[in-house]
């Protein structure tokens, strides 16, 4: 009996007759079309991710929060933190760019996938860093409220009156808790959205990479 796979191989060679044939002109038109590869998407999305948090500072509400920080005597602290933040952000961007440049379709499949995952990982670490910083800012604010003597400055900066019918102790406590809870929800919300999108983008690639890894076990 002829081996089934030999039969298959033979038939496969015959398939050429049925394949589409593109003309020189048709192929020529294609080479200047825009790529929609995963690497291209990673680049676009990553640039957006690097930019977006910085655009948030332009919102009017950012000015209000700055006023709140000032009222709590945190402005120097925040400036210092911002400088550190930018140094780290530039490190992440440089690392991302370096890894992005190393991606080459000429590598073997496994190396190519590993490089894409690594490139994407530098953005992932950047996001984790940004989220931690965001949460840390909330925690610091809560701490500043905890050590501040007079909450009226805080209320002034938000253009509201200090409620008179609540004891200062209670007011302080509820303030600290609201800041912490708000901080946690906000960070979790942004993180949730981010990791959902991130997971979608690389799902297929990761599955294939794991499959290749498993072959080697």
């Amino acid at each position: 009996m002829m081996d089934e796979l030999e039969l298959l191989k033979k038939d496969w060679q015959k398939k050429e007759a049925y394949l589409p044939k593109l003309s020189h002109a048709e192929i020529h038109k294609m080479i200047w079309k825009k790529s929609s590869s995963i690497v291209k998407w990673i680049l676009i999305i990553s640039i957006l991710e690097f930019l977006l948090p910085h655009l948030l500072y332009l919102l009017p509400s950012a000015k209000t929060s700055w006023a709140i920080y000032e009222s709590l005597g945190m402005s120097n602290y925040i400036i210092g933190l911002t400088v550190v933040q930018y140094v780290i952000v530039f490190y992440f961007i440089a690392q991302f760019y370096k890894r992005y440049k190393e991606i080459s379709v000429l590598e073997d499949a496994k190396k190519l996938m590993r490089k894409i995952i690594k490139t994407r990982a530098s953005v992932k670490y950047y996001i984790i860093f940004s989220l931690s910083l965001l949460f840390f800012a909330f925690v610091s604010a809560a701490f500043a409220i905890y050590i501040s003597e007079d909450l009226s400055v805080l209320f002034d900066s938000m253009h509201t009156e200090v409620p008179q019918n609540v004891s200062p102790e209670r007011l302080k406590r509820s303030f600290i808790w609201s800041v912490l809870i708000l901080g946690f929800c906000f960070t979790a919300f942004i993180g949730g959205i981010y990791f959902l999108l991130y997971g979608r983008l690389l799902r297929k690639l990761k599955k294939n990479y794991n499959e290749l890894e498993q072959i080697e076990v």
Binding site: E4, L5, L7, L8, K9, D11, W12, K14, K15, E16, Y18, L19, P20, K21, L22, S23, H24, I27, H28, M30, I31, K33, K34, S35, S36, S37, I38, V39, W41, S104, V105, L106, E107, D108, A109, K110, K111, L112, M113, I116, K204, L205, K207, N208, E211, L212, I215, E216
Partner: protein, 164 residues
Amino acid sequence: MNKELENRFVTELENNQNIVHKVCTLYTNDRDSHNDLFQEITIQLWKAYPKFRGDSKFSTWMYRVALNTAITMYRKSKKRVQTQDYESVIFKIKADEYDEAEEQQLKLMYNAIKQLGDIDKALVFLYLEDKDYSEISETLGITEVNARVKMNRIKNKLRTILNP
């Protein structure tokens, strides 16, 4: 980039386009996706072409870029509805060349191959293209021994489908 390079590339691709079409046939299920993937592979080939030194055959080089694009870089667009009237090339089997049993076997095997994962498909594709294990291992980045083991498993899987 100059016109001469452009022309040389398009001519080489035109002469070897079968390789790309075959990859597209395995990895897509309708005509639009086929064309989509073909275009993406063409773009990737063209982008990498300046690095093609000619020390390997153009076709050998194409296998790697085409498979890498299909497995790694290509994102299927979800919007596509599978067109009903489209019959994939691989199911076009000339009835007069085979007896009924053989024809049935081929259909079953092609069906099974279509259901395989992306990596298994790549292995089967290279096997059907008569590539040896050293080339398969180099293309996918796995060791030759493991490529052989994996291929045998896939072959057995296909055989059990035929002889349950």
